[in-house]
């Protein structure tokens, strides 16, 4: 294959990875930025989103788009509800202490994972894409659904940005993030904001999962890799920075797509990890993060 089409394919693949990664990392970044909680269970919310998407899609017969749309709305809501409960029952009782919450979310990771293994099973199960079209380019064919994933993800990122910058709830969240005690002094129910943010973060992970599940199947161990990548993205982009998360996700996704295609996937992972090390040494707050107060 000639260089041009090769690069095009690599870029497309990289953009799909970026799109999903950005959504997922955004959830992780919000939770850390506002709550200062390192949510190790974030990948399991993603997995839960995918597993629920399979379940919803299998409930309805008829055109695959009906099941997919149902999953797209219902699955993130349920995952957000689960996260809300987990926050109320576990994290709040630990007073959001950094060490305790890490251990607690590790516990949550195993609980969710084993629940999925018990009730969903060990198989990888596919969800049918809402539409099944193949774009035949002269050099190779490409799935139209993958392109749709990029578009939808961009739309969802915009919606999240509007929510955070244009609504009252978003204002409250940003106030809490910028100074928790001051926000509390102004009468913001910080406690409830935390619950909302945790649910929103998990919901974003679930959304990313529903989008990806017609491409990659739902499987109970699917949360681990994206979790690591999300951490990489969040560290590079700067914790709590929406812009940083998006830029870092595009950077990591594209470099993963292009480098692993022209060289090797291992080199792509090595470079991403190296970049994390560089960022931690020279700009610990991340590319776009504000220096900690």
């Amino acid at each position: 294959m000639a260089f041009g089409p090769y690069l095009l394919l690599a870029t497309l693949e990289g953009l799909v990875t970026s799109a999903v990664l950005a959504l997922m990392a955004l959830g992780l970044s919000l939770v850390f930025g506002v709550m200062r909680v390192v949510n190790v269970a974030h990948g399991e919310f993603y997995m839960l989103g995918a597993v629920l998407a399979w379940w919803f899609a299998s409930l309805v017969s008829g055109h695959p788009a009906i099941g997919f749309l149902l999953a797209l709305f219902a699955s993130p809501l349920i995952v957000a509800a689960v996260a809300f409960l987990a926050e109320r029952l576990v994290l709040r009782r630990l007073d959001y202490e950094p060490e305790a919450t890490i251990v607690a979310t590790i516990g949550l990771l195993y609980i969710i994972q084993q629940f999925a293994l018990t009730f969903y099973g060990p198989e990888a199960r596919p969800v049918e894409a809402p539409f099944d079209a193949r774009i035949a380019l002269p050099w190779f064919g490409y799935s139209a659904y993958k392109l749709a994933v990029i578009v939808v993800s961009v739309a969802l990122m915009l919606a999240t940005w509007l929510f955070l910058t244009r609504t009252r709830a978003g204002l409250i969240m940003r106030a809490t993030q910028s100074d928790r005690e001051m926000a509390q002094a102004f009468g913001i129910p910080v406690d409830r904001v935390y619950a909302g943010v945790f649910a929103l973060g998990a919901g974003l992970a679930a959304l990313a999962a529903v989008l990806i599940v017609p491409i990659r199947q739902a499987h109970y161990l699917m949360g681990l890799d994206p979790l690591l990548l999300s951490f990489i993205v969040v560290i590079i982009g700067g914790l709590g920075s929406l812009r940083g998360t998006v830029v870092a996700a595009i950077l990591i996704g594209l470099s993963d797509g292009i480098i692993s295609m022209f060289f090797s996937p291992t080199l792509a992972k090595m470079l991403a990890t190296f970049l994390v090390a560089l960022v931690l040494v020279f700009r610990p707050q991340g590319l776009f993060g504000a220096a900690s107060r």
Partner: protein
Amino acid sequence: MNYKAKHQIKPDGGITRRTALKGLSTAAGLMAAPGFVRYAQAQSSEPIRIGFQCHRTGIGAAYGRWYERVTSAAVKRINDQGGVNGRPLEIVIEDDGTDAARGSEVVAKFANQHKVDLVYGTLFSHVVVAAAPMAGELKIPYYVVSEGYHVASGKMNRYCVQPGITDVKAQVRSVAPWIAQNLGKRVTLVYPDYAFGHDHRDFFEPAITAQGGEVIAKVPIPPTETSFTRYFPQIPRDTDVIYHVMVGPAVLTFVKELGEFFGTGGPQLFGFIDSLEAVDINSPGLEFLDGSHFWEGMPRYAQPDIPRYAASYRETVGIDENGASVNDPNDVSTAGHMFGCWETLYVIKAAMEASGYRGPEDRASLIEATEAMTEFPAGNEHPQGAKIFNGQIHQVFAEQCISQVNGGRLDVVHRTSIEDGMYEPEADYTTMSF
């Protein structure tokens, strides 16, 4: 109320009497758990205990579940027919998480804590390779139902035996002539980049070259990969056949993306059913496989000419015409491999009877009795078909099936002979000491 005041009250430290009591009772409970129970009965009535190293979790979990079902069915049948040397078989299961390090620990736990007579049932090659040295060190027989060439290569030890399923080298040599004659001679290999995939890479190339074919490209894929489109440009355009052998949960993606990339009119496909074990062949996205060919150890779909013993085996383990569970048509079995559990248990039974096995002191003679075996006739004990066992390399040889995907089912189009897969032994375990 202030959030801090409400939630920052810490319980005071130190151990109270109540927590101490709780701890003590937990410890007592653990001591009474099954692993610690000693047998007080007379030896003759004691069950023979087989430690089943099962992939209950991890990437091998779908296999593990069916290996477990087949094992229970075979053990029940053996016990219903009088057991082994008049003693019932008892299966003790430990989950190894399809993980190499854990696999080795599980073998040690079986030997030291459960004190089983032998260990059995491992599938994934990395687990076998990691756990076999432990079995050799603890001098406990280790009957694996794996597929890699590691056992036959002579790199394991005298205690590690594979009498129920053929190894990759034999499978590959069996199918190569058929591929060269029917699909094409210019082959691109797509395989997972670890031991199991390397076996395919190393043995397929000489096998196809011997048939006048050639391997024109090799595409290794890291085992944790979830997306494959990026690898497909490495497949040369003049490829006749893509030989694919992927494992793990991402194989559906692999096939779907292959279909999107090539559309209709791409190269022929030859795969190993390992890719699609426990996966419904009619899953969305797999339409692209229609007309392509697969290696199967034993047919998933009941074939028109199915022998009576094979039908009876299918009924006993609980799979229907389509190779799915009789209780749930969506619960597709790992039929291409799981017969190996059934057959291995019957080999263990035969070896125990031949050696007059009484207990762990007879472990060496159990291995010797297994090594002395040469042929297994097809029948209820060996429903996959007749087999030839080579005691020198602890490896069994069998017929293989080549099946074609036709309108959503797999039809066997060719059955190789046992001799097709046989090769010169490269080792001799029988000269090693116990």
